[in-house]
């Protein structure tokens, strides 16, 4: 099971004008993490745009690939802690930048990896949809 903890949500100057958008998008980011933790593909399907572009560790993953992976994922003792995010709004587009800390245990040894991510959301037909997401491990 992937445990999710949301902490220290940072605010930015760009958020002053679009704070409602920032709140809505942050709520969806949380919903995404939580849905993934419980292998809830139906929720992810509603959040992800059909043309979602997802990149992790240099690999391009489509929405279909992502949902398939979540559906077949085995429970893991990983924990993801969202450390902070900033939301920039551009009309009906919102860009979320932040870091999260991923921890787990492999072969009895604890490991820790910090990621920085960029997510892009677009307001379509009354809903915010995730259209792009990418993450890179943060070098020590």
């Amino acid at each position: 099971m992937v445990l999710v903890c949301l902490t220290s949500l940072a605010a930015s100057a760009q958020e002053a004008a679009g704070s409602d958008v920032a709140r809505a998008v942050r709520a969806l980011e949380s919903e995404w993490f939580e849905a993934q933790a419980r292998n809830d593909n139906r929720t992810l399907d509603l959040i992800f745009d059909n043309a979602l572009v997802y990149v992790e560790s240099g690999r391009l993953v489509t929405k279909g690939d992502y949902l398939l992976r979540v559906r077949s994922a085995k429970p893991q003792l990983e924990q993801i802690v969202l450390e902070g995010t900033t939301v920039r709004t551009f009309g009906d587009t919102a860009v979320v930048v932040g870091t999260y800390l991923e921890t787990g245990v492999k072969d009895g040894k604890p490991w820790l990896k910090r990621w920085r991510f960029v997510d892009t959301w677009v307001y379509k037909k009354g809903h915010w949809m995730l259209v792009a997401a990418a993450a890179v491990p943060v070098s020590k």
Binding site: V55, L60, R116, V118, A132, V136
Partner: protein, 111 residues
């Protein structure tokens, strides 16, 4: 615009890059470092990159927002030694005041 960006970076043309990047632009580089527009402009001035070759590129349009992803082969010389690095990128463009500007980017190494 992606090609113009690459060319501006290689030829160290700050004016071109200024036009391409929105003032609120944010980038995450391949080490996970967060960069603002000013950081990218400063990095360009000392860059060792000589060529940015596009290996693939796909554009997804969502109204006045475009998501561009693909693979670049970056070539350069550092401390007298040539290097080549393939990177995957994801850029977000926004149509604003009659032109496309980049509002976010992320680059990650391949291989």
């Amino acid at each position: 615009m992606e090609h113009v960006w690459g060319q501006a970076y290689v030829s160290k043309d700050p004016k071109a890059l200024e036009r391409i990047l929105d003032d609120a632009f944010v980038n995450v580089d391949s080490d996970g470092k967060l960069q603002a527009k000013a950081d990218v402009l400063a990095e360009m001035r000392t860059s060792t990159t000589l060529q940015v070759l596009t290996e693939s590129m796909t554009v997804h349009l969502h109204g006045n927002t475009a998501i561009v992803t693909g693979v670049f082969l970056i070539k350069g010389v550092e401390r007298g030694k040539p290097y080549a690095q393939r990177v995957r990128f994801v850029d977000t463009w926004f149509y604003k005041n009659g032109q496309w500007v980049s509002i976010a980017g992320l680059v990650t190494r391949i291989g």
